[in-house]
């Protein structure tokens, strides 16, 4: 018996070029499982990615329509697709560098517009594909290739940014919480507006080596479990205590006007003069 999700993959393209112990495969599996559970026709799914390890994984090895676009620009590409074909399930695969740094403006505006796409962020807190440089999500003090004396900058909270910008659904889990992550993706796929699901994922090759002095995935996953706190728990912690924690859970789940749908309604009122 073959794996139930194998039908979504291009086996002949395997093996992937990701490192042993990488968490991106877990996140991708959660996405495919959610698509399977929601009984979404894979031929009506478009996977749009920017640049990073996640993009390389999510757009080639999956047998679905996919675009491996420019660093940070997956959001506007996806916006164009969604506005032209609103019934398509448009999924943006992004990373912490992709949406938190180079594509930050696009990420914020996609959330503000509440365009009906699901953004799945593979957050490994480091630039993995380029070989372990500091990311906008890297904790303070971390030694990386471009912060050899320790990172002086504060990390960015992508979920709180998505919430501020106006996303309809926002959640964060780690690769040590695959069931919860899958449920959140399922929920996000069912939302009409912009949803942002952040998956904190392990990069044993760089992040593990720099922060935990371990390149074993299991060590990082245990560290995720030890350091994860629920939203309720987080409210009791001081900012200093919170800095070292990963807050997990559902931050936003609201119903708002979705852009592509609203545009179609406006069209119905306006069109008719030309045919």
């Amino acid at each position: 018996m073959s794996h139930p999700l194998l039908k979504y993959l291009r086996e002949d393209w395997m093996p992937t070029l990701l490192c042993p112990g990488c968490g991106d495969g877990t996140v991708l599996q959660c996405l495919l499982r959610a698509i399977e559970n929601k009984k979404i026709d894979i031929d009506r799914v478009a996977l749009i990615a920017g640049i990073g390890c996640h993009a390389r994984l999510g757009t080639g090895y999956v047998a679905a329509d996919s675009m491996w676009t420019l660093h940070g620009r997956a959001f506007p590409v996806a916006t164009g697709i969604k506005l032209v074909d609103p019934s398509l399930h448009v999924v943006v695969l992004t990373g912490d560098g992709d949406c938190g740094s180079i594509g930050l403006g696009h990420f914020v505006h996609a959330a503000r517009r509440n365009v009906g796409i699901l953004a799945l962020c593979f957050n490994n807190s480091i630039y993995g594909m380029t070989g372990g440089q500091v990311a906008p999500t890297t904790p303070r003090g971390t030694i990386t290739k471009t912060t050899p004396y320790g990172n002086l900058e504060y990390p960015l909270d992508l979920c709180s940014l998505a919430e501020t910008a106006g996303a309809s659904y926002v959640a964060r889990w780690t690769t040590a919480h695959p069931l919860q992550l899958t449920k959140s993706i399922e929920k996000a796929l069912g939302k009409s507006g912009f949803s942002f699901v952040e998956a904190v994922t392990q990069c044993p090759t760089y992040f593990g080596k720099y922060t935990l002095q371990s390149t074993k995935a299991s060590d990082i996953l245990r560290w995720f479990l030890r350091n994860s706190v629920s939203i309720q728990q987080s409210e009791k912690l001081s900012p200093k205590e919170l800095a070292a924690k990963i807050v997990i859970g559902e931050f936003v789940d609201v119903q708002k006007f979705e852009l592509a749908e609203q545009y179609q309604l406006q069209l119905k009122k306006k069109s008719g003069d030309w045919k």
Binding site: S66, P76, V77, L267
Partner: protein, 385 residues
């Protein structure tokens, strides 16, 4: 049912451009406000909903071109319009359009530069950027230079046809003068136009090759969501659209792909390589120009002719790929060639390359305004001496 007849109406260049795009079947416009191109976006915002198309103002020009690429793959003829600073921001996206063979039209209304320059003053400073702006020896852009509202109307339609036929970005290189000038524009009936249509390539077949990398052949373009399971990448890829390949084959695959992207533009049998001439037959001196400066060039040449001088002019309508052969034939045996450009010299070097060392080439630069007829007549006079 009554069909609207062909009619002539007073239009600004930017308005003519927007109207032509809609007539050509453009159903997606994304842009960001920038002088002197904004009127195109404003007109699109009003008119696009009337034809069931999408207008969106994006957060910047990078997003505009990116969303145009997405929209094109979702099945819409798509376009954006900007000016120099925005055009610079779009270069990476234009590279993605070249690499993924995405049809799209980009209008660059050139203004005084570099940098902010002066937003309301004209220049032709983006000629080389339009050709070489994107990195990595990207040479698939077709660049058309209109000189009047009527011509930007015609060339915008042409741009969509070329983009769709050759699956490549086409740049309409307008300038502030053409953009804001008002003239009568003949709007043809839609049935009089030859419009390139997207071929629907359904159903998907397992044998479907995403890109035939055979010289100038262009494969039909499937649409997202129709079962092709496309893997569209800005990365180097094989004919099957496949990214992973043995490392030793990368140089061969790369050469094949890059040659294909270049060859389909230069070798295809398309008629857009256009030049227009005036008094070419018996002239000893030829003036070369494109875009709005060609208007004063034309009037100067007519005056010089009245004074009995053997002078004519060529106007480049297609800038890139450069109409070398046409120009070579026209300039054969000329004693003097005068290049009139609204910049410090962009197309002049290409002209020198075409005419060789035997013909004298004079360059007449100016920025921020059109040359006056007198300025051009002065040059013609000096050439005649």
């Amino acid at each position: 049912m009554m069909r609207p007849p062909a009619r002539r109406i007073l239009l600004q260049g930017n308005e003519a451009c927007a109207d032509a795009a809609i007539l050509a079947g453009c159903r997606y416009f994304a842009g960001y406000p920038i002088t002197p191109a904004t009127e195109i976006a404003e007109r699109m915002a009003t008119k696009m909903p009337e034809v069931g198309g999408v207008f969106i103002q994006m957060e910047d020009e990078i997003a505009s071109i990116a969303s145009v690429i997405g929209a094109s793959w979702a099945g819409a003829k798509a376009m954006t319009a900007t000016s120099g600073p925005g055009f610079s921001l779009m270069q990476e996206g234009i590279g993605l359009a070249v690499m993924t063979e995405t049809p799209c039209v980009i209008v660059d209304v050139q203004r005084l530069g570099p940098c902010q320059g002066f937003a309301t003053y004209p220049m032709q400073g983006d000629v080389m950027q339009a050709r070489w702006g994107s990195h990595g020896d990207s040479r698939s852009n077709i660049v058309l230079a209109p000189a009047s509202p009527q011509e930007i109307f015609n060339l915008t339609i042409e741009a969509f046809n070329l983009a769709e036929r050759l699956r490549t970005p086409v740049i309409v290189l307008s300038d502030e003068i053409v953009a804001h000038m008002r003239e009568g524009v003949l709007i043809p009936r839609i049935e009089e136009l030859k419009l390139e249509k997207r071929t629907e390539v359904v159903p998907a077949t397992p044998e479907f090759k995403f890109h035939e990398l055979s010289g100038c052949d262009v494969t039909p373009m499937p649409r997202l969501g129709t079962g092709y399971r496309l893997n569209l990448v800005g990365h180097l890829r094989t004919e099957e659209g496949r990214v992973s390949m043995p490392p030793q084959s990368v140089p061969q695959v790369a050469f094949k792909l890059l040659s294909h992207l270049a060859d389909k533009i230069t070798a295809a049998e398309w008629e857009a390589k256009k030049v227009k001439t005036l008094f070419a037959e018996d002239s000893k001196t030829m003036l070369i120009s494109y875009g709005s400066p060609s208007r004063t060039v034309e009037s100067a040449v007519k005056e010089a002719r009245k004074a009995g001088m053997k002078v004519g002019c060529v106007r480049l309508v297609t800038l890139w790929p450069f109409p070398e052969n046409q120009l070579q034939t026209i300039l054969e045996g000329m004693e003097e060639v005068i290049v009139v450009e609204m910049n410090l010299g962009q197309i002049v070097d290409k002209v020198k390359e075409v005419v060789g060392r035997s013909t004298r080439v004079t360059h007449v630069p100016k920025v921020g305004d059109l040359h006056t007829t007198e300025e051009i007549l002065d040059c013609i006079g000096r050439a005649a001496v």
